[in-house]
Subunit: 234 residues, 4 copies
C-alpha cells in the first residue's frame, strides 16, 4: 500500500526545538516509523508545488496523513477539494493533532471542530475499544507528558467509533481517537502530536498510526458516484 | 416555538400541476399543517431578498425546513453559511426530499449526498425505530403511490438514527428518515415530497413533520463555541 | 407520567451515614426531587413483596429508576424478566450508579458491564452532547467531591449517545451518561450516586434525572412483538 | 486463523431437499468455501457431546459461525454461557439466518430479535456501506430467488454498522447484514440462508462470509475483565 504524509512544515523552520525533536520534519519522522515491507511512504509539504497534492499523487495514494497548524489558511481551496474528492472515492485520511482545524477536516465533518487547548499538560490516554484494529497491541493506558491539552467540548459529529479517551491533569477529558466514514473513505483523528512535544516518539502512538494506515486502506477506490437515473430492476 | 418553511418556489410557478396540488406553494401547504397553538410558522422563498433568510430571521427561528430542487445553485453562499452557523448554534434543520442535493445539506454532511432516482414509483415506508419521538403515532408501514424513487447507495455519513426505510416497487431501498447532530443543531432528513406527487397530503407524512419540528427544537441556542485557551480547572 | 424509583434499600438500614444523607432512603430522596405537577412518583424496594415490581405496577409505569448494589443477587429472576419485558414493550429505564452490575442492566446490555472502581475520588463531569434533552440546563462541567471512581474500560455495548464523560483525579475517565434503546424502551445509565456521597443532592444531577425521566417516557407502550408470518403486502 | 461452523443439523436429516442442496450439511457446505491456506475450518453440531462446543474447542477458536432453527431450545444453557464468555473475551461470532432466534444471539443483543417471515420470496440485497471490509468485492446489488422473507421491524439494538439492506418482492425491507461489538468480540448477523434455498451457493454470500470471518478474527483474546479496584494512577 502507498501512504503520503503531508505536513505544513512551518514550525520546523521557525522553532529550533521542533527541528531538534523531528530533524527531517514531523513528516519525515512519521514516515520513518510507518515504512515497512508492504507500506511505501512518501511525504509532501506546503513547500511543494500544489502542496505536493496533485490528482496524480492522490490517484496512487491509499492513505493520506495530514499535519497542519499555523498555515491552514495557506492550503489552497483547490487542494482541499482534491483531497475531499479522493476521500469520497475511498482514499483513507488520518488527521493529526492540530489538523482538527484544517480546511479538509472541517469540510468532511460539517462542523467547526473547535475545542479547548492549553500547552504543556500531563495527558493519560485510555483505550475504550480494545477490539478495534487500530487498538491492536496498544496499552490499555499510557502517559504523554507533556502534551498539549485538547479539551471537550470537541465540536465534531458523533464519531462512528471512539477508540481512545484522553485525561488531562488540569481537569479536561477528550475524545482522542475517533473514526468516521465519508463516501467510501475512512477517516481517523488522533489528538496527540504537538510540535514541541514528543508524542510521535511514543511506541503506543507509533503503533496506533501503523494500525490506522492499515485500517484506513481501501479494498478498492472508485470514482465518486453522482446521482443516476436507472431503469427499474424489478 | 417558531418555525420557518423555506421553499425555492420554482416548480409552483412553472408547472401547473404543482400549483394545483399545492396552491400556496409547497411552503404554504407545509405551513398549513404545522401551525398550531404553540407553533407559529412563517415562510420564505428564493423570491425574497436574501432568500428571506437573514440573521434577524434566523435569530428568532427554532427550526428551519428546507425544500429545494431546481435552484440549489441560486441560493447565495452567504445564505448557506448563515444557515450553517445557526444550525451549529442550535437551530433545528429539516431537509426535505430533493433538498438532499442542497448546498446546506452537503455542507453539513461533508459528503456528496448523491443517490439513485426515478419518477413515479410505488413506495412503501417502514418505521424501524418506533420508540423515536419522530415516529410517535405514525403507522408501522404506509404507501405513497406514486412518489419519486430515491435509491441506495445514498452517500451520507452513517446517521445517528435511522427511523424510516423506504421500499420501492422497482427494486430499490432507501434510508428515508434519518437524524444527525451538527454542533448544537439537530438535523432530520425525510425522503418523500416530490413536487408533482402528494406526499405532503399524506397523514403519516404530516405527523412525521409535526413530530420532527418538536424534536428538532433546541432547549437553548448558543453562539458557536470557537477554540478557547482556558486555565487549568484542577 | 408515572415514575417508579426502585432501591434495594440495604445500605440505608446498615450504614448510619447513608440514612443520614438520605433519611427516607435513596429512593425517597430521588422521589422528592422528581415529583412535580405532571410527574407522579412512587417507590419500591427489596422489602416489598415481589420487590414491589409486579406486572400490575409495571403496566402503569412510564419510567423505572433502578438503584442496587449489595443485593443484586436477591432480586428474583422472575422480577428481572418482568422488567425486561416491560422495557422491550416501551417502559423507560434509568439505571443508577452501582446498578451497572444489576441483573436487569446486564440482561439488556448483553455484556458484563464490568468497570474499575475506587472510593472517595474527586470527579469532574463534562457534558459532550449539550443538544441532548437530558443535558438541558446542565452545566458544561461540574464537580462531585468525593464520589466513587468508576473507570474505563466499562464493558458496555457502544452507546447510541454519550452525553457525559467523567474525569477522576486519580487518572481515570468514564462514559458517565449514556443511552441505548432495547425493543421500544429507552435506557439511560448515570454513573454518579454512591450511597455514602452526596451526588443526588447536586443540582446538576437532579436536573439530569428530571430531564431523563421525560426523555425516557414512551409515547405509547405496546405488547412485545413476537415473530409473525404475514401475507405479502405487494 | 481457526474457524468453527456450528449447525444444529436437524433439517438435513429430516428434509431430503435440504440434504440434496447441502450434502454434508449446511455446516459442511460453509466449511467448503471458507477453508483456504490461512483459514482452517472445523464443524460441530447438536449431535456432538456438549454440542461440540467445549471450552477446549473455544479456546482455540477465532471465529464461530452459528446456524440454528428448529432446535434452539435443545442447546443447553451452559453451552450458550460458554459461547457468551468467549465472545466477551474476543472470539468473533457470525450468526446466520434463523440463528436470529438462537439463545446466544438474544443473550448478546439483549432484545427479542423478533421479525416478520414468509417462505419463498424474491429478495434483492443492497450494499449500503461499500467501504466496509465485509463488503469488499461484493456486488452493489444481487438477487436471491427464492429466499425466506425476513421483514422489519427486526427487534435488535441499533447496529454499529448496517452493511446490507434487503428488499423483498412482497413489500418488506430488512437490515440484512449488521455488526455489533460485545466485550472484545465482534458480531456479524447475515439474514439469507434458509435451509431449503440456495443462498450459500451464491458467490456474493460466500464472499461476504469469507470477508466476515477475517473481519471478526480478534488480534488477541483476553480473559473477561471483571470489576477491579486499582490504586490511583495519578
Amino acid at each position: 500500500m502507498k501512504v503520503v504524509v503531508w505536513n505544513e512544515n512551518v514550525h520546523e523552520k521557525e522553532i529550533p526545538s521542533v527541528s531538534e525533536l523531528y530533524p527531517g520534519g514531523i513528516h519525515g519522522y512519521i514516515k520513518s516509523f510507518l515504512e515497512c515491507d508492504d507500506i511505501s511512504v512518501t511525504t509532501a509539504t506546503l513547500d511543494d508545488a500544489d502542496c505536493g497534492i496533485t490528482d496524480e499523487v492522490l490517484d496512487e495514494t491509499d492513505v493520506l496523513l495530514w499535519w497542519g497548524h499555523a498555515a491552514h489558511h495557506l492550503v489552497p481551496d483547490e487542494v482541499v477539494e482534491r483531497v475531499y474528492k479522493h476521500v469520497i472515492s475511498g482514499m483513507g485520511l488520518i488527521v493529526l493533532h492540530s489538523g482538527h482545524d484544517s480546511k479538509i477536516f472541517k469540510r468532511l465533518m460539517g462542523t467547526t471542530c473547535s475545542l479547548k487547548w492549553r500547552d504543556n499538560e500531563r495527558e493519560r490516554i485510555w483505550c475504550i475499544k480494545p477490539s478495534h484494529p487500530i487498538a491492536a497491541g496498544v496499552d490499555e493506558t499510557f502517559v504523554l507528558d507533556p502534551e498539549e491539552m485538547y479539551g471537550e467540548r470537541f465540536d465534531i459529529p458523533d464519531p462512528e467509533e471512539i477508540i481512545f479517551l484522553g485525561w488531562f491533569k488540569g481537569g479536561e477529558v477528550f475524545r482522542s481517537g475517533c473514526t468516521w466514514t465519508r463516501g467510501l473513505g475512512k477517516i481517523f483523528y488522533l489528538q496527540p502530536g504537538h510540535e514541541t512535544n514528543t508524542a510521535y516518539h511514543n511506541e503506543n502512538i507509533q503503533r496506533i498510526l501503523q494500525n490506522a494506515v492499515r485500517w484506513a486502506c481501501p479494498a478498492k477506490k472508485n470514482l465518486p458516484a453522482f446521482c443516476t437515473n436507472p431503469e427499474p430492476l424489478e
